[in-house]
Symmetry: C2
DNA sequence: GGCACACTGTGATGGATATCACACGGCGCG
DNA sequence: CGCGCCGTGTGATATCCATCACAGTGTGCC
C-alpha cells in the first residue's frame, strides 16, 4: 500500500526520528490508545487490525517494509483507530507530531506524500466497506485471495497465497474461519485455486472472471 | 465532518477556482468517473454515497457548507470512489489538481488542512467498517441516529432528526428500509426516541446507554 | 381542501452465514 | 521420528435480516 518517501526524505529528518525494534507478536500500539507519533516501518511485516469486544477480529491490512502507519495521529489527537501488531520481528523509526511541521518546512513534498498515502488508504477502506455492504462472503473471500495472489505475482512471479491461515483470510474478508474454509474448498473443487499443503495457488484469470461474473 | 479552511485561505487561490451551481438532485460526480478537481462546498448540502449494481445504496456521509470533497483525486488519478449528489441546491468552487501544488506553495497550511480532513474521514470510514463487521442492524441504526441527533443538538440545541426518511437512515446504517423502520418503531415503543410525524426526537442519554450497554 | 404519491408499519418467508461440534491432517519441536 | 497442537474440512442448527407484500398515513401541490 506504500510509499513515496525517498531516501533523501529520510535523511531530511534523520535526527527527529527514533529507532525501535519489536519482536514477532508484539503490539506496536493499540486501538483507543492515544499517541502522537507516526511510524516508518524499516524492516518486517505488521498487521493493522480491529478487535471486537467479544473476541472477533477484522484485519484492515498487512504492511511490509518500507511503509508507514499511524499518520492520522500527527494532525489530531484522537485515539488510534486500530491495533498494529508485528507479524515478524520488526524494525522501525518513530516520528513525533511535534516534529512534523518542521519536517514539512524542510520538505513540502512530504506533505504531498502523506496526502497520497491517506488517499490510497481511504479509497481502500471505502472499497472494503462497499464489499461488506453489497457482497456476500464468497465474493469477499475471492477478492482477498485475488489481492494477495496478485501482489505475490507482481513481486515474485507466482500467484501464490502462503503464510496466511484460513483464519487470517477470514479476518481480511470479514467472515468466519469456517465460512472462509468452505469457500476455499469449493473454489478448489471448481479448480479456480489449487491447494498444495498449506499453500494456495491461484488461477488469476479464472478468479477474476468469477469476481466479475457474479 | 469539516473544515479548517479560513476565508484567508480562500482568498489565496481565488483566481484558481471556478464557481458552479447545481440544482437539487443533480450528480456533482459519479463513482468510477475520472476527474482531477476537488470541490469547495459554499452553500447547500450534498450526499456522498455508493450504489451497487443491483440498485442498493450505501451513504457514506452528508456534507453541509462549508466543506470540501473530492480531494483524493488531487494526488492520484484514480477514479472517484463515490457518487456525490446535491441534496439541496448547491453552490461550490472547483479547484483543479494542476493548481494544487501552487496553492500549497502559497499556503502550506492548506496541506495540513487536507491531511486533517483525510484523517478524519479515514477514521470515520474505519469506524463504519468496524460497525458493519461487528455489530447488528439495531446497533448501526442507533449509532446513525445518535450521530445525527448529536449534530442537531450541537448546532440547534435540539436532538432532533428531520429531513431524513427511514430509507435515508437505512442507507447510512447499511441495512434495509424495512429493518430500519422496525428498529425505529421498537425504540419508540421503549421511549428511547419519540416520533412526531416525520420527525424523530432523540433521548441522547438513553440512546447512548443502549449503545454502550449492548 | 382534497387527491396523489411518497413514506411508514408490520407480517410472512427464505436464504446466507455464524456458531457449535467434532474428525482428520500435517508440521514442528523435543 | 513420533506426539501434540494448530490448522483444516464439513455436518447440523439457529438466527438475523433481506425481501415480498400490502395496508395505513402524512404532506405537499394544484
Amino acid at each position: 500500500m506504500f510509499s513515496d518517501l525517498s531516501p533523501a526524505d529520510l535523511d531530511t529528518f534523520a535526527d527527529m526520528v527514533q529507532y525501535r525494534r519489536y519482536p514477532r507478536g508484539a503490539f506496536i500500539f493499540n486501538q483507543h490508545e492515544t499517541g502522537s507519533a507516526m511510524y516508518l516501518l524499516a524492516a518486517g511485516r505488521v498487521k493493522v487490525s480491529l478487535a471486537s469486544p467479544d473476541g472477533k477480529e477484522l484485519a484492515l491490512n498487512y504492511l511490509e517494509a518500507p511503509a508507514h502507519f499511524g499518520e492520522m495521529s500527527l494532525v489530531d489527537s484522537e485515539p488510534r483507530s486500530a491495533d498494529v501488531i508485528a507479524v515478524t520481528d520488526v524494525e522501525l523509526f518513530s516520528l513525533d507530531a511535534r516534529d512534523l511541521s518542521a519536517a514539512i518546512q524542510l520538505n513540502p513534498k512530504l506533505a504531498l506524500s502523506l496526502i497520497a498515502t491517506l488517499s490510497r488508504r481511504l479509497r481502500h477502506t471505502i472499497a472494503r466497506l462497499e464489499d461488506m455492504a453489497f457482497h456476500d462472503a464468497t465474493h469477499r473471500v475471492m477478492r482477498v485471495m485475488l489481492n494477495v495472489a496478485t501482489a505475490s505475482y507482481e513481486s515474485r512471479g507466482v500467484p501464490v497465497i502462503q503464510g496466511l491461515t484460513h483464519y487470517d483470510i477470514a479476518t481480511l474478508a470479514g467472515t468466519s474461519r469456517e465460512t472462509a474454509s468452505r469457500i476455499i474448498s469449493s473454489l478448489a473443487r471448481e479448480e479456480v485455486v489449487a491447494t498444495k499443503g498449506r499453500k494456495i495457488v491461484v488461477d488469476l484469470i479464472r478468479l477474476r472472471e468469477r469476481l466479475e461474473g457474479k
